[in-house]
Symmetry: C2
Subunit: 167 residues, 2 copies
Amino acid sequence: MKHRKILLAMLLTSAASILSAADNQPAPSHGIDYPSEWQKWASIAVSHRADNSTLRVILGNEIAVKAARSGKTNPWPDGAILGKVVWKDTQLKNWKAATAPGQFVHAEFMFKDSKKYSETYGWGWSRWVGLDQKPFNKGAQVCTSCHTPAKNSDWVFTVPASFPKTK
Amino acid sequence: MKHRKILLAMLLTSAASILSAADNQPAPSHGIDYPSEWQKWASIAVSHRADNSTLRVILGNEIAVKAARSGKTNPWPDGAILGKVVWKDTQLKNWKAATAPGQFVHAEFMFKDSKKYSETYGWGWSRWVGLDQKPFNKGAQVCTSCHTPAKNSDWVFTVPASFPKTK
């Protein structure tokens, strides 16, 4: 009976490990786990950068979207995650005056935790590159140096867009 | 006993009407009910129109997002709802080369039902204007005439953006 229990435990451990491999998340970026299902998050803003010809949508987890919609973003609350999804510009086929998303570039995330990330201005900084979502691991200073102009708005460039209140 | 039942029915009707008023949805546009909580929908694409200086995010309900992510959009499936949220251009304060959402203009929706809306190319067309979401009721032909260049892509201008697969 004891041996059967051990065998069962071993089988369950194997099953769990197989399930975990099937889960197949991209490896961490700067030690931060991949935020699963961010593709379903709601929008906070969009932007179009003329200096590098990219279009972006800025998404947020529930905490971030709630903060954005209610204007409580300086500082953003702990637990907020902001995602910036970036594509190269292309022209919309049926409306030439419209710029639309072309090649996918990367998805970048800021994870607010004022205590855990106190050394990087209260945010964890991460990026996954390309449609295969390769983790970026060249150091958070790459992110923070570029974000310095936004240091007075809690290191976030995005000004949340105006949305009609949820009804 | 009969009178009691009638009284009860009257009370319940009043209660329902009060609840409905409290719900406070904007009035229908072209006979179509306001899609509640669209502000929480996931993104399908973004666009920037140079001809009228507006930025847009294109959102979808679950059916639409699933179709967009799997490339099954010509035709879009019945039940799909597409939302286009439009803002006037502004310049991002801390990054001058970026255009960002300024004044909110309107939110427009296409409701796919090939049978119900067979006379308007399989879509119900609606729009709610301004942050107070005033219903637009000038007729679906205002929408369809502008969408004619997209008639070969099921009357939809948007080409869904590439997203990494959900993991």
